[in-house]
Structure formats: structure tokens, C-alpha cells
Symmetry: C2
Subunit: 344 residues, 2 copies
């Protein structure tokens, strides 16, 4: 399993990226990694580290793309960016998968341009793992497509279902549409039309799910457009952090503050582990001809190590091929051609 | 100040509603309440309670509307419902405001049909108070309009601004659009077009805000369509509850579990008070000719008492008149007529 890893992407690049690669190599014997980035900088990070040197390579790609750059302009101008070169390696068959914690808009666009969408997929989508009280669920689309059609949501349901089945091992994933009421009649135009498409498709469809029930863990796959999905993802992240901060503040303001904090320190650590994005590593971009894992901008070495693990699993199981077949199998379900609206 | 209170609305009606009315009467001297509902049931709840009897009246309206009923069908069939009669009292000038924790779709529809939208307002909207690490902000629209136009969002910004200024006492409210990136270019078609309308309007506009920053408390007013707003509202509610549940579970699984829990019990109580919807009582429906406060379906007596307080404040300050003037003042800013899409 050979994975092209963008060494320049993310807030803590290249150090956290290189460190994560080394950790992964030491943990997974079947892994080979191509570090794509500024060679001197990457070599400096590797200095003094112990790792199986035969399973690591560096490809020099000095141009980094900043988080604030416009995706299309950056792609046009920087033909030797680390993201570009990493995706190219998958296209050329030199790598089985690509992992990047860089500018997610650029990663998505390049994956789509270079590798292409799977046959029959109108819009590739990001599938994010969301922790709950019970077990994580798949949120799809978590931010790739801001304006979506019902056909897009139908395909997200099929792709999320394949993810939950083959990667999470849920035999019959419960699929739901994120909406503002459980009844079929509740929601906006998009969710109501999507409901009609998804319901007869033979999935284990549980109908609409409301925001308040997301974290009880009843659904395995939750479908929405990328605007709503990204807002849910980030609101949850921000809120969980705020709740912990507020609780710490409350504990600190009590006379027993320091002592109380000592008692719950371990509980907080356990909670953080369960809700830490780094545990899941990265979110796959589903619906393209290849394996592409998008890491969190704040990726730590642990997040990168786990993203490499996810990439390896998706690639080994040939998830992109499974998804292509699922879409193919269901194409007769579609009464109309997808009506894609420009991505933002 | 006379407030018409729907005695039959909400999961704990009529007991919690009547109890909340009594608490409010005992606390606020200038308040008179008309309890609208099934008279025998309401009288039974009042039995044995101490309250200033001269400031309370009952109007018999025996028909209750269930949470699962279709709003328009229920409105057509049940002409003597408690919600209907309570709204009618405002229209007739017999009450200054109406408070209901009943079927929110029905309350909104009746407020719009009976009282009417303010001159110039295309779509009335629900303004919900959201707790943050610092101070609460106004989320508008929290669920009244599932499909919105940029003109709707522009008007929500004006209405939310008036709320934050006159009710929350923020001299120059910071107004933001909820989106998936801070830059103007980030978002969906709706937020990008809304940005262009809101930016030149002379508000203290801070641009887009992302989900992850909502709870840091930087914005006073956050504008979005009612679908997104309702999902954010309910996701936050569900997540905060889940975080506490997960933390308790973590604490319980430690050897020091019971002891640790004792230490943080007070902290949890303080946190709950800060994040409890009941502290805010209810969310006003802004942009109608009158004062209408929508209570939470799970309203406790405390929530009802606070909703009555909110209703009283909105009415005393003539918020609906202030909002009408704000919309009037800004109507030349609008390049086009609102393009309302049917509410779901």
C-alpha cells in the first residue's frame, strides 16, 4: 500500500505531517509513504528519527498553497504544489491513495480535475465521522458542495451507506436525511424532494432526523447538502469545546475548584479522546476515481497517522470501486438527471 | 400590560403553563394574564394556588391542537383552539401580546394570518437567544422560513439588530451571516447574495461567521435561513445534552466516580443555568403587527414565567413598531422585491 502524503498541508506542516508519517510506518508494516513537499524542509524533519527508511520516499514539490488562496487561481498558478504532485502520483498509478491536510477546496478540486468523478456520480462529497453517545455516524456531505440537488443527496445516501457498511462494519446502516422535523412533510424543498428519491431505494431508510437527535447515535448515515453539513460539523466542534471551557470555568469558580478539577481531569481526557477529530484522522472524498483523504487543517501527528490508516483501509477495500458499482446499480432509480449548481 | 397565554400549548400543559402564569403574576406587579384554554382544566390547576386574582382571567377555548397536526388543516378545522383565541385577543386589542408553547407552526401561521406581517416585511422570523462563553447572541431565523431569499436575510439582519439593540442593550450590535468561511466569497448562493445586501446597510456588519466561532460570543446577531437556523438550534441543544451525558458517564467509570461527581455537581448546575433555554423563556416572532412569543415545546413553569417577561418587555418597548420603522427606513436599500418561496 503506497500513500502519497502532502507534507506541506495543514497548520502544523511539515513537522506534524512528517512525524505522523513516521508513526504510521512504525505501526503499519504494509505501508509505504511518499512524502511530497519541500525536500530540504522534509529532510530536516526526518533527521534523528527512527523509521523503516526503505518504506519512505521524498518527492520535491516546493510550492505550498496558503489557506486563504482562491482554489482555482492557486491551481492554475502553482503547477508544482505539493497537493498537485501528490494527486498526480495517484493518477499515474505510483500511489494507491493521497492524504492532505492542506486547503480542502484545493484538494477537492484537484482530486476532481486530475482523478475525475466516478462514472455516474454528479458530485463527489466529503464523508465525516461524527462521534455520538453510542457510536459514530457518517455525515455526508460535510462541505464539498454548497448548493445541491435531490439527485446529489440521493447519491450521498448511497455513498454514505457503502462507507458505513464496508468501513464501519454496520451490516444494515440506518440512513437518514437531516431536516427540521421527522415527518416527510417537514423540511425545505431540497430535503422533501430527496426524501421521495431515497425512500424507495432499498436502503435501511429511517426518514428525517432532527438536529437534537443527531448525537443520540440512532443513525449510521446522515445526509445533507455541504453547506448545512459543514455548519453542523463546525458548530458541533465549536460547541463541544465551549461546553468544556464553560464547565472548567464553573468548576474553577467553586471553592472546591482545584480539587474538583483533579477528580474530573481523567473524565475530560476520556471525553476528549471520544470526540477528538484526530481519532478519525481524516474525511474521505467519496465519488472520485481513487482514494483521497482530507485531513483537518489543525492536524496533529496522531491525526495524520490515523488519516494514513483510513487511506490504507479505503484503498485496500477498493471503496471507490464499490461506490461506483452502487451508483451504477441505482441509476435506474433516478427520474431525472442531476441538476448541479456551481460550487462556492 | 395584558398578555394572552395559551394554557393548552406544550408538553406540560396546562399545569406548567398555569404554574408559570401564577409565578409571573406574583413576581411582576404590572402584569395581567388571560389564560386561554379549557376552563375546567385551567381552574383545576389554579385551585389552592395563591395569586393576585384580580389580574387573571380565563377564556374558555376547549380545542387543543396536537404537535403532529398539519398547521393549515388544524387552523381550518379548529376555530376555537386556544392558540387561535389567544391571538384573536391581541387583534381585538384586548391583550398586548400573546405567548404560546404550542405547535409552533400553528402559532406562526395564526400570528401571520390574524395579525399580519409588518408593512414592508416579506417574512416574519423567529429570533432565538443562544448562550455562548461570553454573552448570548440572537439567531434569526430559528425556524420560521425554510427557503429564503437574500431580501429575507437582509430583513432578518435589520430585525435582529433592533432586538439586540433595544432588548439586549447592545449599543452597536455586531451582525454576521452564518456561513462556511469568513471570506465574502465563501458560502452558498443565498449567503453570498445576502452579503452584498447587508454589507452597505450601515449595520455593524462583521461579515460571515463560521459554525466553530458561534459560541465564542463575538457576534450579537447571526443571520441565516430558518432551515439552517433550526438545525443549528436543535443540534446545539442535543449536543450540549450529549456532552454532559458523556462526561457523567466518563466520571462514573472512574474509580473516584461518585466523589468526582459530587465535586462537579455544582459546576454542572451552573452550566445548566447558563445554557438552559428556560432562562430565555421564549423566542419572539419578529416582523408581525403585534407581540408574539413562541415558547419551547418542553416549557417548564420557569420557561413560561420568563416567556411572559419577554412578552411584556417586547410589548412595553413597542418592538413591533421599532421594527416596522427600521424596515421602512431601509426599504430603499433593496434592489429587488423579495422572492419568497413557500414555507414548509
Amino acid at each position: 500500500m503506497i500513500i502519497a502524503l502532502d507534507a506541506m498541508g495543514g497548520d502544523h506542516a511539515p513537522s506534524a505531517i512528517v512525524e505522523g508519517a513516521v508513526e504510521a510506518l512504525n505501526e503499519y508494516d504494509d505501508l509505504e509513504i511518499i512524502l511530497v513537499g519541500d525536500e530540504p524542509a522534509v529532510k530536516k524533519e526526518l533527521l534523528g528519527k527512527r523509521f523503516p527508511a526503505l518504506r519512505i520516499r521524498i518527492i520535491h514539490a516546493p510550492e505550498a498553497i496558503g489557506m486563504g488562496e482562491s482554489p482555482m487561481a492557486a491551481i492554475r498558478k502553482k503547477r508544482n504544489s505539493s497537493i498537485r504532485r501528490a494527486v498526480d502520483l495517484v493518477k499515474a498509478g505510483e500511489a494507491d491513495a493521497v492524504v492532505s491536510a492542506g486547503h480542502s477546496g484545493v484538494v477537492m478540486a484537484l482530486a476532481l480535475i486530475v482523478l475525475g468523478a466516478s462514472a455516474g456520480v454528479d458530485r463527489p462529497a466529503i464523508a465525516a465521522m461524527m462521534p455520538t453517545f453510542k457510536k459514530p455516524f457518517v455525515l455526508i456531505d460535510a462541505g464539498a458542495n454548497v448548493d445541491c440537488s435531490p439527485v446529489n443527496l440521493f447519491q450521498f445516501a448511497l455513498m454514505g451507506n457503502a462507507f458505513a457498511k464496508h468501513i464501519l462494519g454496520r451490516p444494515s446502516p440506518r440512513v437518514a436525511i437531516l431536516s427540521i422535523g421527522e415527518e416527510e412533510s417537514k423540511g425545505n424543498e431540497l430535503t422533501k424532494e430527496s426524501f421521495k428519491l431515497i425512500q424507495p431505494a432499498g436502503l435501511n431508510f429511517m426518514g428525517n432526523i432532527e438536529g437534537k437527535d443527531l448525537f443520540s447515535g440512532e443513525a449510521d448515515v446522515v445526509v445533507c447538502d455541504g453547506f448545512v453539513g459543514n455548519i453542523v460539523l463546525k458548530t458541533s466542534e465549536g460547541l463541544a469545546e465551549t461546553v468544556i471551557k464553560m464547565l472548567k470555568q464553573e468548576i474553577g469558580s467553586l471553592p472546591t475548584g482545584r480539587l474538583g478539577y483533579l477528580f474530573i481531569k481523567n473524565a475530560l481526557r476520556g471525553f476528549k479522546k471520544k470526540t477528538d477529530y484526530a481519532e478519525y484522522g481524516g474525511a474521505p472524498l467519496l465519488g472520485i476515481n481513487g482514494t483521497c483523504i482530507i485531513g483537518h487543517g489543525r492536524s496533529t501527528s496522531k491525526a495524520i497517522k490515523n488519516a494514513l490508516k483510513v487511506a490504507s483501509e479505503f484503498s485496500r477495500k477498493k471503496m471507490h470501486e464499490i461506490i461506483r458499482q452502487e451508483i451504477e446499480k441505482n441509476k435506474t432509480m433516478l427520474p431525472l438527471k442531476g441538476n448541479p449548481v456551481a460550487a462556492g
